[in-house]
Amino acid sequence: MPKLPVLGLFQDANNAADAGDALRQAGISDKDYDFLTDAPYPEGAFGERVEHHRLYIFPFIGAVLGLTSGVLLTSMTQMAYPLVQGGKPILSLPPMAIICYEGTMLGAILFTILGIMFESRLPSPKLGLYDTRITDGYIGVLVQCDEAQLGRVSGILTQAGAVDVKRQAAAAATA
């Protein structure tokens, strides 16, 4: 059964942190709620879970692919057309290094951009449950829960000091 989103809006960041504590105490997994903010808050300010990502792998893969392409391109073309330049070896490293560096960098850059899009799940033309007040500094606590838990979760958010609690139907109108 798919989970449904509930968004609690808090004017005070401390109340949002309290809501996170209350949700955890109510048995909601910390993977099922998130804090939406208009600016990056310090790590752990809301008592939230530590987020792991694999972005660092992407540039590494890109760099390896780019370097390999550079090495293959330079060595194979020079082997195919062996022209001696200034008495240097056919496969001399300095001229190869320039192409290899460029290939490595371009590969790393391209894969980093792809990695950012993949890890952030971007881009997507549709916006989910959101409220414009978050842009003005409100804190959103977005909870994913079963339909049966909707009332309880809304109550927890309200008790923690949410100035508004929104559900999916209201979100569709906003979006």
Binding site: D34, F35, L36, T37, D38, A39, P40, Y41, P42, E43, F46, E48, E51, H53, L55, Y56, P59, L73, T74, T77, Q78, Y81, L83, Q85, G86, K88, S92, P94, P95, M96, I98, I99, Y101, E102, M105, L106, A108, I109, T112, I113, G115, I116, E119, S120, R121, L122, P123, S124, P125, K126, L127, G128, Y130, T132, I134, T135, D136, G137, G140, L142
Partner: protein, 472 residues
């Protein structure tokens, strides 16, 4: 707003500013659509200049074609001038974000926005590849080289043209990726209130940005990685431009100092330009509540250091050749420094070093908001002079396939089309930047808000000081 007036303090009242984070987003985003008469006038003037630049370009192409690189010296000079500034500008945001400098916040987006000019750089670079001489001498005369000196030696496939192009295009794409990633939170906020085309564009660029913890973490890591790659790739592309279109075209010019000198001039001029834009926004753009004196005060020290480094590299270049005393070295010094382009060199040194040096050295001026921007104006003139003497000189230094510069060539003075191109493309760059400033908020909203979270004024003994939280 500045809130410290009655206590004794060793800094100006508006040294630090305290924007209201509740209203910052609305205020800064609304400025991208608000009609401003000064903006329109600037847009018209720079648009006309761009048109003149295009006229100059077409006239030059019609008159001289693309077979010989010599008539394109001033075009190369203005390309390099713009590339130096716009290429290195995003690095200012990247660098100060790395060092977690709080004062950087107002100038981050100003510097990243220069990435849009990567499109102009790419377009201007194409004709330069068309006039770049081939590596192989099509007609060897006397003792000429069969293959000219270059960084590419004999290969590989596509050199120099495709690899040069790939470098400039790659840098432009990378710069725009940094701008996109950095502006994404601001655009996500802006799209909620935007209408029509803007709403569609912001929606496309911002994607599914919610401001979740994961997204902020990915953005932070992504900006750090792309920033590191930008630094590594910028130096590479600058090395290509300096070597390929400067040294390689001057017979016998072999110099390990010139590419680093090129990079230093680039860093100096890009920081200068950013400070100038920052000052214009503060003074005439209505951004006083977001831009205090602290960015100028802090950046002026870095500008001073870059000015000193410029001189050091110039001296290192000069003394090596002067001490070497080979004929080619003497001729290169005479050509670029003392005879042919002696006056241009004089302007270059006075404007790039002496004037900014004394302005930035003088504390009463340096500590004013206008001190560093004043030095910046001189630096930009000096940078243009640098590019004229180097690249107009390189493009008119005789036969590329000669072994060395046997005589000192005369200077190449600009004709009407050159003047059109130099003024026109500089105006064109301003035109594009102004347009971009109407799409992206000119100040990084999320960084301003983040900064507002971490700062407040507190009393300490007899003074009143800013207290700044440093969570990392």
């Amino acid at each position: 707003m500045a809130e410290h007036a009655h206590h004794h303090q060793p800094y100006p009242d508006d040294m630090w500013v305290f924007p209201r984070r509740e209203t910052a987003a609305q205020d800064l985003v609304s400025r991208t659509i608000a009609p401003i008469s000064r903006y329109r006038i600037a847009l018209i003037i720079t648009g006309v200049l761009l048109a003149l630049g295009v006229v100059g370009f077409i006239a030059r192409a019609a008159t001289d074609g693309f077979d010989d690189h010599a008539p394109w010296g001033y075009y190369m000079a203005v390309f390099s001038f713009l590339f130096m500034i716009t290429g290195a500008a995003p690095l200012v945001a990247v660098g100060f974000r790395f060092t977690k400098s709080h004062w950087r916040r107002p100038l981050s987006r100003i510097s990243e926005l220069f990435a849009v000019l990567g499109v102009l750089n790419v377009l201007m670079f194409i004709p330069l590849l068309m006039v770049l001489p081939p590596l192989k001498n099509p007609e060897v005369v006397g003792h000429q080289l069969e293959i000219r000196r270059s960084i590419w030696f004999g290969g590989p496939i596509g050199s120099p043209y495709w690899w040069d192009m790939l470098g400039v295009v790659g840098l432009a794409v990378l710069g725009m990726a940094i701008l996109w990633l950095s502006a994404m939170p601001d655009l996500a906020g802006a799209k909620l209130t935007a209408t029509g085309f803007r709403r569609k564009l912001y929606g496309l660029l911002a994607g599914r940005w919610y401001g979740s913890k994961r997204q902020w973490n990915i953005q932070k890591a992504g900006l750090a990685m792309l920033g590191a790659f930008y630094f590594m790739f910028l130096l590479f592309v600058q090395f290509i431009v300096a070597s390929e279109f400067g040294m390689a075209l001057v017979p016998g010019w072999k110099d390990s100092i010139f590419p680093p000198l090129y990079t230093i001039v680039s860093f100096q001029s890009s920081l200068a330009t950013i400070l100038l834009v920052l000052f214009i926004l503060r003074k005439w753009g209505g951004y006083e509540q977001y831009i205090g004196v602290s960015p100028f005060w802090s950046a002026s020290k870095i500008l001073f250091a870059l000015t000193m480094l410029w001189t050091y590299h110039l001296w290192a270049f000069f003394i090596t050749f002067w001490y070497g005393r080979l004929q080619v070295e003497q001729n290169i010094l005479k050509y670029f420094l003392f005879e042919s382009y002696g006056w241009v060199f004089f302007v270059n040194v006075v404007f790039s070093f002496f004037t900014p040096f004394f302005i930035l050295l003088w504390n009463p001026v340096r500590k004013k908001a206008w001190g560093a921007p004043l030095a910046a104006c001189f630096i930009l003139v000096g940078t243009l002079a640098f590019n004229i003497r180097i690249f107009v000189g390189a493009f008119n230094a005789g036969h590329t396939f000669d072994h060395f510069l046997e005589t000192v060539p005369p200077p190449a003075w600009p004709d009407l089309w050159d003047i059109f191109m130099v003024g026109g493309f500089i105006g064109g760059a301003v035109f594009i930047y102004l347009l971009a400033a109407r799409v992206f908020p000119i100040l990084s909203v999320w960084e301003i808000k983040e900064g507002a979270l971490y700062q407040k004024m507190e009393n300490f003994m007899h003074g009143r000081y800013m207290v700044l939280a440093k969570p990392e």
